[in-house]
């Protein structure tokens, strides 16, 4: 069935939005193989976003851990500092072809909001970003960036005033203004066709990893690691390896203060099957289906659900999902900075943390690729506070 990944996915949205998602699907099917569209998108990827991103051999980390050879896929080097720009350029270009003049988006940490504001500035579109009020305080610098880029930022005060509420509010806004507005969803979630569209635009990550590693090592990796909130950088990193059974795919969720506490955002570890934000998938929720207020030190992984394709990869066993605590992520954040001179986003540090456990257990002939989905400049003040040092941006 269209828009399903096993039993997951679907289109659980208000009737008011149905023609909008149908129109989006038709437009996407029309443009995805259109040579002109792809030529324009490739141009933006290469000339504007700085693709292809480097696949860097982390020699010191490899030596230090004493096991598998480690490569870092450097999505942090993209323009705006994260993988989010891949999806946003694709969707903004598509929206423009559809005749839309206005983009709306949700954001958690602010990375997707900044990327959307950037694409809107570049393509001459209006832009409104919904951001939980809590997050606007935690990430004040990104709020300023979005405004600098010409976007409006709407603080969301409903619910827990974090990412899930920003998604809800963006959906509400979309139902009130559809004709000129495209909802530029930031992850592989929401109603069909978003999980497919976002995955396709992010799949450039695994396509490049495959080409680059073949060139450097003449073979496929043994494991690919990426952090998972909604799961867009992870699905992008996994996609072209799904058909290669020798490649282990590992998603690293945010355990927050631990999967045995209520302060966690590890959906696969603690969630159950449900229907929310337009999709059937796994969600952190109580026994009556009320969505749980989740927690992670990483604002970008602080979401109570996971994209439907990940839910399916979990069901089939094709990908494995592990939970990484705040403590482990912060240690990995500091470790990569010291060892390789690379400050990863705290989100990406969850994947680095698992690599530190995994690599020593693997033979030196094996290869691990870790996607560094974003850079960590935005997190420095928060990590300093976590370590008991009050600094201000």
């Amino acid at each position: 069935m269209a828009g399903r990944f096993g039993i997951h996915g679907g289109q659980y949205i208000p009737e008011t939005l149905m023609n909008a998602v149908i129109e989006l699907e038709e437009a996407y099917n029309r443009f995805k193989d259109d040579p002109e569209f792809n030529r324009e998108l490739t141009y933006l990827f290469n000339e504007y976003a700085g693709r292809p991103s480097r696949l860097y051999y982390a020699e010191k980390m490899t030596r230090d851990l004493g096991g598998a050879k480690i490569y870092l896929k450097r999505e942090d080097l993209n323009h705006t500092g994260a993988h989010k720009i891949n999806n946003v350029l694709g969707q903004a270009l598509l929206a423009k072809k559809m005749g839309k003049t206005r983009l709306i988006a949700e954001t958690g940490a602010g990375q997707h909001g900044v990327a959307t504001a950037t694409a809107a500035a570049l393509l001459g579109m209006e832009c409104v970003v919904f951001m939980g009020e809590e997050d606007t305080k935690r990430q004040a610098l990104n709020v300023y960036r979005m405004k600098l880029l010409g976007s409006d930022v709407v603080p969301v005060t409903t619910g827990t005033a974090t990412l899930k509420d920003a998604v809800s509010e963006a959906m509400r806004e979309w139902t009130s203004r559809i004709a000129d507005t495209h909802y530029c969803l930031g992850s592989v979630m929401g109603p069909h066709p978003f999980p497919t569209i976002v995955r396709d635009f992010q799949a450039v990550i695994s396509r490049e990893i495959k080409e680059q590693l073949l060139e450097k090592e003449g073979r496929l990796p043994d494991a690919v690691l990426a952090c998972v909130g909604g799961g867009s950088n992870a699905i992008g990193s996994f996609y072209h390896f799904i058909g290669d059974p020798s490649v282990e795919l590992i998603g690293c969720e945010a355990a927050g203060r631990g999967v045995d506490t209520l302060e966690t955002a590890a959906t696969i570890a603690t969630g159950k099957l449900g229907i929310f934000h337009g999709m059937k998938s796994y969600f952190c929720q109580d026994e009556f289906g009320q969505i749980a207020p989740v927690y992670s030190i990483s604002a970008g992984l602080d979401y109570p659900g996971i994209g439907p394709e990940h839910a399916w990869l979990h069901d089939t066993g094709r990908a494995k999902y592990v939970a990484i605590t705040d403590d482990e992520a912060v240690e990995a954040f500091e470790y990569l900075a010291r060892t390789e001179g690379i400050i990863p986003a705290i989100e990406s540090a969850h994947a680095v943390a698992y690599a530190r456990k995994l690599a020593p257990t693997m033979d030196k002939s094996k290869i691990i690729v870790i996607t560094i989905s974003g850079r960590g400049d935005k997190d420095c003040a928060a990590i300093a506070r976590y370590r008991g040092q009050e600094i201000y941006e």
């Binding site: 679907g10 289109q11 659980y12 949205i13 208000p14 009737e15 008011t16 939005l17 149905m18 023609n19 909008a20 409903t158 619910g159 899930k164 509420d165 809800s168 959906m171 509400r172 139902t175 009130s176 203004r177 559809i178 159950k272 099957l273 449900g274 229907i275 929310f276 934000h277 337009g278 969600f283 929720q285 026994e287 009556f288 289906g289 009320q290 969505i291």
Partner: protein
Amino acid sequence: MSNIAKAFEKGKAFIPFLTCGDPDMETTAACVRECVKNGASLIELGIPFSDPTAEGPVIQGANLRALKGGATTDKVFDLVRELRRDVEVPMVFMTYSNVVFSYGAERFISACRDTGIDGIILPDLPYEEKGEFSPVCEKYGVDLISLIAPTSENRISMIAREAQGFIYLVSSLGVTGVRQKITTDLASIVKVIRESASVPCAIGFGISTPEQAHSMASLSDGAIVGSAIVKIIAKYGPEAPKYVGEYVKSMVEAVKR
């Protein structure tokens, strides 16, 4: 024939919406009885959900107050059981898919039949996904109510043809909440609905004044009002039933006019 049809037998219907457990179940029960006493034709009971994406700020607030007050799906079924000791008008639930799904479709929908709920409105379950619950609804004779929106256009006939109970026509774009003016060309949508549907059609979203209720009901078979009632409850709390009753009386008079 569905029990819901009774609501439309005595002329135009007035359909009030209340969020169960806002501020507590006793107040909800008293408000429902006031609505019935003052001529409401059908009662729409909201089961609170943590993240009601189709609601404006007023009903969002009611959902959160109810959950904070300890409302659960089990307690809502207890409320319905208690109400059915004397309330005879049709009653339907309005909630979100996850509330039904997490309870278990079979368990939830059989409990609807057993307690006396005649239908379910799920604003996040469009035509394409109704198979999620419709086989179980049919098994227990509970109507799964369809919504039609101003943007439905080419989808109206498809939805109307299979509609059960009544059709919930959404008056305007956006979420629930009071609106100054409703500008959608509802008359032409109702015309297409009537060509395909075998059930009545009531209009909701944005209706608060007797004038609006009158004009919406004259275009269709009835008017649905939520936010305006929830506002009265938010203002008066446990004292609200009397004021809800007075308001419903004025609205019933307006739709029957």
